[in-house]
Amino acid sequence: MLLAGGATALAAGTPESEFNPAGPVAALQLSYIELSFWIMAGIFIVVAGVLVFTVIRFRERRGQEKEVPPQVEGNTLLEIVWTIVPILLLAILGVVTVSGSFALADLAPPSKAVVVDVVGHQYWFAYQYTNLGVTTANELHIPVGEKIDLELQSADVMHAWWVPRLGGKIDSVPGRTNYMWIEASKPGIYTGQCAEFCGTGHADMRIVVDAQSPAQFNAWLNAMKHPASVPTSGLAKQGYTDFATAGCDACHSITGTNYTVGVIGPNLTGLANRPMIAGNILPNTPANLAAWLHNPPGVKPGALMPNLHLSPGKIKALVAYLESLK
């Protein structure tokens, strides 16, 4: 009954369900899950069936209390059969496993593909498109229908980039680079989150992938390289100046400005275009931005962005500036 209920819930298609793969990696993995599940289910049905039968048929009946059943010690043929059969079933899974492991390690040639350096931080992911000259954070844009090579690294502790509908995860281990590839078959927004415990903010370290047609992807790349110019009037201009005086530029960079040295915080180029903020836990609205700037660790426990005790006026100006980053 639980099984049926579960299946129904899954059929409804939750946003990150592995039963709704959006690319070849996730599809391959789902096929393995289904193959192993059905083979195991078959074994379980046999075991459960024999158990139920045995429990009913060989239950001690009234009057049998003093009787001793035949003291059978073994049956070599039977034992051989029930050793060989599982070996054969597992061999099927073994062959599939090996071929799948190699398929998933078959990255696209880097010179021809989109290669993204995914760097895990406490508690957000940075994305650097190494041969396309774009750096961003929290929201990964990819073109559909092609292999995307991911180079996984960490700036601090272990993390794991996981978007279930696109594929499984490989961990980001500090001091080494790991590799995996993903591919989205259809345009869409795919979400996930960090899947290797990394500290207080681990649960609040979420992932958004925007898979776009090649044309849209190029348009996005272009917008990132040539963002809106620095505001020249109003509150946004005030915010632009406050960005330096409040010390934001020590950690954050924005293309097209003088703020280019900050690398320990997310790159904020095009921030206004992102649907979510703060590691993708809050919708990107002026109110949420203001709350974040007011007290980041209060909004997201463990956040390493400190509470700078900004005045409400400063916050308003900064929000206006950030909302202009298109």
Partner: protein, 634 residues
């Protein structure tokens, strides 16, 4: 022989009824059966602690974006829950059974090293209390039960939490290693005449293999914990990335220990199930030789699969494929065991007392756990499963549905022998159903949660992802499960105080311990027994007069009818206390206390090596056995 004038070296005669009276007798205990009582009580308490930690987590996860506990507290809860359940509850519960039953099953008077046995208990208790004292002394460890570097290093985890973890486990670990050596020597060297290795009850075989695993796996953890302690306390660079240290060193050493550890946590359950299924089906264990071979193979293979915990660490397709294949290999002997247990039941006359009910539910839940295990072994698929609730579901099915259900079968089975009283069958059945329903309602949905994207170790989750409903179901199940356990514990406590007195052989069983009174006399056997076959008591019931014969040619009674037993001593307690003091000294970086505590610990070790146990002489009371055996089998 004794020309020494020191008072403690003079032998004196002890009445068996006198042994073990008073609080002090619990502190200077060396009798393996009483040590078993201590293990049961302590691990029971730690089990309740771990269970409370679980319930707090389940409350927090009931709603998305819940604020019942903070993120920091939740991280401490899941760390302590896992560490407590594995090291302080399940493993010591098995050691309790080793102590209660193994010497009886092989016809011995005690284990090979009784004082070391006591030390093992005190170190386990000390390590567990040390670890749990962290809650009150500045915060519990919060990096998970496998505490990966670098999140566990002082750079990212200042404060004392991880120090409590490293030092506490180190203290408890010494005790466990000593237990492994103790029981391996006991089983190899102290079997009664006629008890060849291929006549050992299967439970004893599983203890033998488990002991080998303990001996070969724990030193890897010991070294790893030293590295972590050194990095944190004296600034070594084992795991420090900036200077070339290797976080993956921690992961590898941990899982080289950690995988055999989970087989340490399941092999004894296989042994218990084998004993119970055989007794309650009235048939010998089907395919005994195969079961022994399967046990040994599982032990051997358990050292060859550890990388399956690390498929996502980027070792590449060659490494992942090899370890996926070895992991699938280990499923074969495990599956064979399940079929052999079914075949034992087939054709028997099965009685469904509570122990057998636990066996039946074990067969279902452990098989499910095995199924998810094989699914996890497929490395490409594991890239999805890893670090999700699917893994949480898998290991709770094998740890609770496997290890713990076997422990509960053993508890109801051996309770009469250990305590002399029967557990209440009706209450037992009520708690059985509550635990089974609660367990499945809690953990089955977690398979789905993993498959729809919920990672593990998150203190909260967003609404709209489909996680909420299944979390609510799981939390509800957890409270049903908790209620079931509460009733079970109540059954134990009440039955200990006022349960009906047990006869020697309430189950019409097959192994040596059931030929002794319930509870067993301090000296175990009035005469070392002669073993005439596998299932030795059954052999005597079918080919003899139902009594265990004495082994001829064994001359160990003194002329006055007494037998030489180990003398109780508080030396092990003192040694454990010194090691604990040393632990706190390291924690608080106090060199002077550390040196003093260490010196006294070394002195106690010196005493135990160079002041041999003078022993004491205990009177045999054959009337105990006659009275019990006249009670007859039920």
């Amino acid at each position: 022989m004794a020309a020494i004038s020191k008072p403690e070296a003079q032998p004196h005669v002890v009445e068996p009824y006198e042994a073990g009276k008073g609080l002090w007798s619990w502190l200077n205990v060396v009798d393996h059966k009483r040590i078993a009582h201590l293990y049961f009580m302590a691990s029971g308490l730690f089990f309740l602690t771990g269970g409370s930690e679980a319930l707090l987590m389940r409350i927090q996860l009931f709603h998305p974006n819940n604020h019942f506990v903070s993120a920091e507290t939740f991280n401490q809860l899941f760390t302590m829950h896992g560490t407590t359940m594995i090291f302080l509850a399940v493993m010591p519960l098995f050691i309790a059974f080793f102590n209660a039953v193994v010497p009886l099953m092989i016809g011995a008077r005690d284990v090979a090293y009784p004082r070391l046995n006591a030390l093992s208990f005190w170190l386990f208790l000390a390590g567990g209390l040390f670890l749990n004292s962290s809650w009150f002394l500045g915060g519990a460890p919060d990096a998970g039960w496998f505490s990966y570097a670098p999140i566990s290093t002082s750079l990212y985890n200042p404060g004392l939490g991880i120090d409590f973890y490293a030092i506490g486990l180190q203290i408890a670990g010494i005790g466990t290693l000593a237990t492994g050596v103790n029981f391996l020597v006991t089983i190899l060297n102290m079997r009664a005449p006629g008890m060849s290795l291929m006549r050992l009850p299967l439970f004893v075989w599983t203890v033998l293999v488990t002991s080998v695993l303990v001996i070969l796996a724990f030193p890897a953890l010991t070294v790893n914990l030293f590295f972590l302690m050194f990095d944190r306390i004296i600034g070594t660079q084992f795991f420090a990335v900036a200077s070339g240290g290797q976080p993956l060193l921690w992961a590898n050493l941990f899982w080289v220990f950690g995988h055999p550890e989970v087989y340490i946590l399941v092999l004894p359950t296989f042994g218990i199930i084998s004993e119970v299924v055989s007794t309650f089906s009235r048939k010998p264990l089907f395919g005994y030789s195969t079961m022994v071979l399967a046990t040994v193979s599982i032990g051997f293979l358990s050292f060859m699969v550890w990388v399956h915990h690390m498929f996502t660490l980027g070792y590449g397709p060659w490494v992942n494929s090899i370890f996926a294949l070895t992991t699938m290999m280990i499923a074969v002997p495990t599956g064979v065991k399940i079929f052999n247990w079914l075949a034992t039941m087939w054709g028997g006359h099965i009685r469904f007392s509570v122990p057998m009910m636990w066996v039946v539910s074990f067969l279902v839940t452990f098989t499910i756990g095995g199924m998810s295990g094989v699914m996890l072994a497929m490395a490409p698929a594991d890239l999805q499963f890893n670090d999700s609730y699917f893994v949480v579901a898998h290991f709770h099915y094998v740890m609770i549905g496997g290890s713990l259900f076997g422990i509960l079968a053993g508890l109801y089975y051996w309770f009469p022998k250990i305590t002399g009283r029967m557990l209440n069958e009706t209450v037992g059945k009520v708690s059985f159903w509550l635990v089974n329903i609660g367990f499945n309602v809690t953990f089955f949905p977690m398979h789905f949660l993993g498959l729809i994207g919920m990672p593990r170790r998150i203190y909260t989750y967003a609404p709209g992802l489909g996680f909420t409903t299944w979390n609510e179901v799981a939390t509800t199940g957890a409270f049903i499960l908790g209620t079931g356990f509460a009733i079970l514990v109540a059954n134990v406590i009440v039955s200990l105080a006022s349960g009906p007195k047990a006869v020697a052989d309430p189950w019409d069983a097959r192994t040596l311990e059931w030929g002794l009174p319930s509870p067993v006399a301090p000296y175990n056997f009035s005469h070392i027994p002669l073993v005439r076959g596998r299932d030795p008591l059954w052999v005597e019931k079918t080919h003899g007069d139902g009594r265990i014969p004495a082994a001829p040619g064994v001359h160990e009674h003194a002329p006055d009818g007494t037998v030489h037993m180990p003398q109780p001593t508080a030396l092990p307690l003192l040694m454990a206390a010194c090691i604990t003091a040393l632990g706190y000294a390291l924690l608080y970086r106090n060199l002077y206390v550390a040196i003093v505590a260490g010196a006294v610990a070394v002195y106690t070790m010196h005493r135990s090596m160079f002041s041999p146990d003078p022993g004491e002489y205990m009177r045999i009371a054959p009337e105990l056995e006659t009275m019990a055996l006249e009670g007859g089998a039920h």
